[in-house]
Amino acid sequence: MEIFDKTMRPGTKPEDVLLSVEGLHKWFEIKRLGLFRVGDVKAVDGVDFQLARGESVTVVGESGCGKSTLARTILGLYGPTKGRIVFDGRVIDGTDKEALAWYRRHVGFVQQDPFGALPPFMTVQRILNEPLVINGVKDPEERQRRIRKALEDVRLMPVEDYLTKFPHQLSGGQQQRLVIARAIILEPKLIVADEPVSMLDASVRVEIMQLLGRLQQQYNISIIYITHDLSTVRYFSDRIFVMYGAKLIEKARTKELLKNPSHPYAQALMNAIPDPDPDNVDRFREVPGGEPPSLMNPPAGCRFHPRCPAAIKGVCDVQEPPHFERGEQHLVACWLYGEEHAEQTA
């Protein structure tokens, strides 16, 4: 496999690449009255990145920019409209059911709403048993051993106290621990966590983030962490991808991006990283003025230009910016960093 993601740690060998997302598109066809095609919501519109084993990345972006769709497409819950996913050297598409089952065994999913993510009529025991049974762990003792281990890993202890409980008998934080236990019980190589703490009390967010970080270290799991809130990034995450209007507009190592955000949208985000005051945690949503772009009829050129204070007339509203290199392992899709190109088109 070829390494095309220039923000990967230098010296990463091809065999270290766990996941390769190449030109991924997910469009939803919209029909009026269930008949006439009105257009497509382009919820993921050309996403490329690679992820190394044990590496974690954060995808950050405002509401509606396509983060959850990206997560679901990566998980194989949606078939991509275009592009492909390569996992551990195998191409994953809907045509090979066996490969898809193998892929799903190696990828865990942590959802946003822990209560909704747990079948309310199943006990903890059964919830954790399901993935094992479905994925062919036949020996009941082996299943029991793994259920105990998963519960211990997420610190739901003593295990006996939890096995017979139903989800509604657990607190929000405990529910999310259970969701994480379910996600790791098949010993995955990758976890996709879609806003895993946004619905939890501020008081338990930190411990859930620390838990994810610890599991990543302990089992060398790769994590794709999706959030709209950059303040949680620091718990783990090697790189940050900034998503805007269904595309990744800036990719860099975490420290670099926090220190040196380049895209005007990313800069607005950074300014919005909240002060320790927990009341301001969600403030960033409002920061960049104006409307998020329509994903059915996105603005021509750079999708951020209508809201951009630094937009160059005749450039940004005409041609879509490619990823420009901005320092070490730092890519940004903004004409401000490639003006020579802009001049060419102008």
Binding site: R72, L75, G76, L77, L100, A101, R104, R105, V107, G108, F109, Q111, Q112, D113, G116, A117, L118, P119, P120, F121, E130, P131, I134, N135, F166, V179, R182, L186
Partner: protein, 447 residues
């Protein structure tokens, strides 16, 4: 599931639910009693009434307990049999190689009206020669009426009321009246007091066994009375209980579970599957149910199981499929379903183990409410003449009562007992269903 348990705990606060539960428990107890005391095969055999099983009971007798009402004092069946009353029989060797068997059935007759029949049955075993047999009738006022003598074959029935010579001797009254009539009264009224049937037989072998049975058929009989074929209605009323409960429960379970499964499959796969199910439902909702059944019942087969299956099929594609569909559309979007897909749960597993359990609590009241409709269904098709020809059921009793014009002939008991059983069992489930609906349905919104 624990929500279901909790729901049932809440029931205690609803008097209607308690009444319903009490009724249901009574019927369940009755059903258990029926099944324990008499196997189904035996009940079917009895109800078919082949051979002479029912010759010892009166025809169209009302229940015996009617006598507790003031002003009613009608004869109840009296049945004497030497096979279970050895003390009524004496054997004496009166000459070498000749024994006299003497049978005596004394009894008190205190009723205001005449019995409906009087018969004597005899059986002889281990005899090569025919025993010589004679009977006498002793009345309270000291008269002795000879009833004739005969050489006995292995088994004989003496239908005294049909004996024309005896009738003539009794002044033109058949034996069940003439033997009991007061000779001094101008009208036919029974004489009360101690009667006795004496039967004597000469047998010629030492091991010959002779049994005599006297049956004085009452106007009243047993707990539930008898029908036109002398069958004791308790058989059908008792055994009708487990059959009705089984019909009701199986029908309701069948209908609810299948409706739910079909709605779940349609919602899950969507597309043409869902469309097809919806169109079938719409067409079915316009089809007339009972006429269709009459057609199938007359043209194809009168089999209770088949007709029930058709009825279940008709009720599957009913309005409820639409409401289940609405619920499933919501359940389908639950994140836990998406999670299940992410660990490769199959479509079948998701439908059966992830979607259906979610709406079961909502189904409990619907299910309980459906039970009476299937209990009544059996009765309806029986009255329509489509009932299973063999099974003793409440519906069959009703249907035969109707055929025999029970109400015109004053056999109210024949119609009332099965009707009340139907109404009370239906009411039991309906009362419980109402209460369950009130308990479970507020939660519908929190699905």
């Amino acid at each position: 599931m624990n929500r279901v348990v909790k729901g049932f705990k809440d029931l205690a606060q609803y008097p209607s639910a308690i009444a319903g539960l009490v009724l249901i428990s009574l019927f369940v107890a009755l059903a258990v009693y029926a099944m324990v005391t008499m196997p189904l095969g035996q009940a079917i055999e009895l109800w078919r009434g082949s051979g002479d099983v029912w010759q010892y009971t009166p025809r169209n007798a009302a229940p015996a307990w009617l006598n507790v009402f003031p002003g009613i004092n009608k004869p109840v069946t009296m049945d004497f049999n030497t096979a279970n009353m050895p003390e009524a029989k004496t054997v004496e060797e009166i000459a070498p190689g000749m024994w006299e068997v003497r049978v005596s059935f004394p009894f008190d007759f205190t009723y205001d009206e005449f019995p409906t029949e009087i018969n004597v049955f005899t059986t002889v075993r281990n005899s090569t020669a025919r025993p010589f047999f004679s009977m006498r009738w002793l009345t309270p006022d000291g008269r002795e009426i000879p009833l004739g003598d005969v050489d006995l074959r292995a088994s004989e029935s003496f239908r005294l009321g049909q004996d024309a010579r005896l009738t003539r001797r009794l002044g033109g009254r058949p034996a069940h009246m003439g033997l009991f009539a007061d000779p001094n009264a101008s009208e036919a009224v029974p004489l009360k007091g101690r009667y006795e049937l004496v039967a004597e037989a000469l047998v010629f072998e030492p091991d010959t066994e002779l049994d005599v049975r006297l049956v004085v058929y009452g106007q009243l009989h047993g707990l539930a009375g008898t029908d036109h074929r002398r069958r004791d209605l308790t058989v059908a009323l008792l055994w009708g209980t487990p059959i009705a409960l089984a019909m009701g429960l199986m029908g309701a379970i069948g209908a609810t579970v299948t409706t739910m499964a079909i709605a779940a499959v349609g919602t899950w796969y969507g597309g043409w599957v869902d469309n097809l199910i919806q169109r079938i439902t719409e067409i079915n909702m316009m089809l007339p149910g009972y006429p269709l059944l009459i057609m199938i019942g007359t043209l194809v087969d009168r089999n209770l199981l088949l007709l029930t299956a058709i009825w279940v099929a008709l009720s599957i594609f009913s309005a409820s499929i639409k409401s289940y569909r609405a619920m499933f559309l919501q359940v389908k979007e639950a994140p836990y379903i998406e999670a299940a897909k992410s660990y490769s749960a199959s479509n079948m597993r998701i439908i059966v183990q992830y979607m259906m359990p979610r709406i079961i609590p909502v189904l409990v009241p619907t299910f309980v409410g459906l039970v009476p409709s299937f209990v009544f269904f059996e009765a309806t098709i029986s009255v329509l003449g489509l009932g299973d020809p063999l099974l003793p059921t409440w519906g069959k009793v009703l249907s035969e009562a109707q055929d025999m014009g029970a109400l015109h002939n004053g056999y109210y008991y024949w119609v009332l007992a099965p009707s009340l059983l139907l109404v009370f069992s239906g009411a039991g489930f309906a009362l419980l269903g109402f209460a369950l609906d009130r308990i479970f349905n507020p939660r519908l919104r929190s699905l």
